[in-house]
Subunit: 75 residues, 2 copies
DNA sequence: AGTAATTTGTTCGTATGTATC
DNA sequence: AGATACATACGAACAAATTAC
């Protein structure tokens, strides 16, 4: 069992990817399930990381649709 | 079964109590377990609410000790 | 038009780790 | 050394909204 990244490190990584333009504003991010696979984490942990990013305004979640980067977000 | 308050409402309520001086800076807040009883919620839900307040800087958690209101926090 | 599948949102419980008392 | 308390991780179940067919 590899050492888990932890939801904070996952949030940091996602934030960095967004800042780097990997997920441009308006584009959909991977789903919880996909992120969970990407980071070898449980869905609950991903949700915790995303909740952090949402509180910063870096990500907006739309129920039923997905996770998006707001058009105007600035790191 | 009463309708649950939800972690956002719980966070709002706690933030308001802190702002009202019910928990002065430097003082310890109730424990997770106590808060869970106060709000008739599960500990996980309380933790989610507290995580929100921590991201705002309204609360600081000290492992093994408790939850505290920072001396300099301003609503 | 309507149903099923997908996806995020919320709640809860359990287990384990780590720091403090 | 033991008890207490926060931190983290995971999973299960259900709700709510959107999307796909």
């Amino acid at each position: 069992m590899p050492i888990p990244m932890g939801y904070r490190r996952i949030a940091d990584d996602l934030r960095a990817r967004i800042a780097a333009g990997e997920y441009p504003p308006g584009e959909r991010l991977p789903t919880y399930k996909e992120l969970a696979e990407m980071y070898s984490a449980g869905v609950s942990t991903i949700q915790k990381a995303v909740l952090l990013l949402q509180s910063e305004g870096a990500v907006v979640g739309v129920q039923g649709a997905g996770l998006y980067v707001p058009e105007d977000w600035k790191p």
